[in-house]
Subunit: 331 residues, 2 copies
């Protein structure tokens, strides 16, 4: 679940309404990014839900098609973070009154393509003709046959791994906002696509489930989500900024920045990367690298779990300092 933890009210929302679920007769458990329903034959049904709105999770003028795809993909990323395989979803949509038919058709086309790509089907929902802005909520259901990935479980001495590249999301947002203007058009397109059409790491999640100690998808930013893993384990995640993987586009941007450390931290603090962050014992390195090769997705060791709490930046497991920026603020 991703209830906003900033307010006491939201916390109470979980505590008072969700806590009872542990007692549910259907053997239903609350997991980190979703709920789990144990089915008789050993399979687990995993449920996650996310709401996206134009102007919050996408540019105010973003197309409904793009926002819908992002909603589908962020929900898929939540399933990936739990090691579940997606199966089907329900979608509720608020179309601002007066939305033209072409925009609706574009959304249908875009979701149909993503459905095919991620092998999921729409099974129900609701559309309302309401107020601006465009708003979409998706409940995604998936199956897990083996163990589930959880946020808790990092152990002292674990390697910290991350998939793909970090910081593209925040740079893509700045490109969309006109705040960043890469010299290369290909960089601008790449970064914007990373922000608008995140790539849920589904194949990775399923393969990691039986192997690693814990995982989370990076939606709030590498540092903030590493903090979630640290808090769940009551340990410290020591991240080495020099080892954090960057795309060519992010590297090009970084080269133009005067304050290299600050710029690197900005990439590590930015949200919307939707990569997987996980920890695993040293003896699993070969197996993790084999997964990387099998699915064709780079996985990089970026630090180690040490005694302490929260996130520190350092090298070789020796913490040097606290990160300056720890959160992600929606624009």
């Amino acid at each position: 679940m991703e209830f906003d933890s900033n307010s006491a009210g939201e916390f109470a929302f979980i505590a008072s309404l969700a806590a009872k679920a542990a007692k549910a007769p259907e053997a239903l458990g609350l997991a980190d990014d979703g709920a789990v329903l144990w089915i008789g034959d050993g399979r687990k049904l995993v449920l996650v839900a996310d709401m996206l709105q134009a102007g919050i999770h996408a540019m105010p003028n973003a197309s409904p098609a793009q926002i819908a795809c992002k909603a589908l993909r962020t929900n898929l990323s939540d399933l990936a973070a739990m090691g579940a395989e997606p199966a089907f979803y329900l979608s509720t949509i608020c179309w601002p009154k007066g939305t033209d038919e072409a925009q609706k058709q574009d959304l249908i086309q875009a979701l149909a393509e993503d459905q095919k790509r991620f092998d999921v089907v729409l099974i129900g929902g609701d559309t309302i003709g309401g107020s601006t802005p465009f708003t979409i909520s998706i409940t995604m259901l998936g199956w897990a046959s083996g163990p589930l990935l959880r946020r808790a479980g990092a152990q002292i001495g674990d390697d910290i791994w991350v998939s793909g590249t970090i910081g593209d999301g925040v740079l893509g947002l700045e490109v969309a906002q006109g705040k960043a203007s890469p010299a290369e058009d290909t960089d601008a397109r790449f970064l914007r696509k990373r922000y608008e059409y995140p790539e849920p790491r589904l194949a990775l999640g399923v393969k990691l489930a039986a192997l690693v100690h814990c995982a989370i998808d990076i939606s709030d930013g590498l540092i903030a989500d590493a903090t979630h893993l640290a808090n769940a384990a009551e340990a410290c995640l020591c991240l080495d900024p020099d080892r954090v993987p960057l795309s060519d586009a992010a590297r090009h941007w970084l080269e133009t920045e005067a304050d290299q450390d600050g710029a690197m931290e900005k990439l590590m603090a930015g949200g919307d990367d939707y990569e997987l962050l996980f920890t695993a014992p040293e003896e699993k390195r070969t197996q993790v690298q084999k997964i990387s090769k099998d699915i064709g997705l780079p996985l990089r060791r970026i630090g180690g779990v040490i005694k302490g709490q929260g996130v520190r930046l350092g090298r070789g497991g020796i913490p040097v300092r606290k990160p300056g920026k720890t959160g992600f603020t929606h624009f």
Copy 2:
């Protein structure tokens, strides 16, 4: 599913995105108000989703707590219409930025009470700090062990039955809007409560599932939802306005109206009653009446299924005329 059928786009939304579900390996079917997932042990998991927004499904100044309860209850009503027992739900909420903490606490308190009342638990979701108006989406899951109630199945000669009373929803809306001012305060309170806090007919739905030919919950209005049953059966539902059950409050309002037929039709066309409408063969009358007695909910025969199509108003199964108003328009 309750996709808005007014636009070609919405229709395509179902056709292009949902139709594939019939092929899903999980033996998943699309039902009328939701989706059904067959679980190995013979149980069926039923899934429905509805989105509600202030200004559309509630007064623009309605409290988030009231809208959330209505969202919970309209989803429960969808389950009731399928004969399923509710179990748990996921909720996504858009809090307009600047919403004060007291409103959030009120919502938590109200949902906690409704959870207890209807024996459901929150298992996941998402809250965002977004734009006005307050918007909530709920995905509700329930269990069905026996047959499911469906919209299709009305047969020529069936009795048409309805639970509770009809027309309170539309009058309650007018009270909330200040358009109707009942002489009695108790009437005003009763009607407004009927509009704001609908009573899902869950016990009824479960008991009807193995007994009757078809059912629907009255959200769009008696006439519009009767039309859905008629269309699904390719038959005509002939309703007798004189037999349509009214609350004391609705009767008091009716007595003050000059055009009795027009006023009665207004009650039959109004939405938001959330009663169950169903058809059953004549030989089931005793059993239906026993259910009514067992659960303490009035059930009234209000017409019969005849050859033809759509809805007609008449007496004793003899159609007299078409209804003048067939739909429900949100304000």
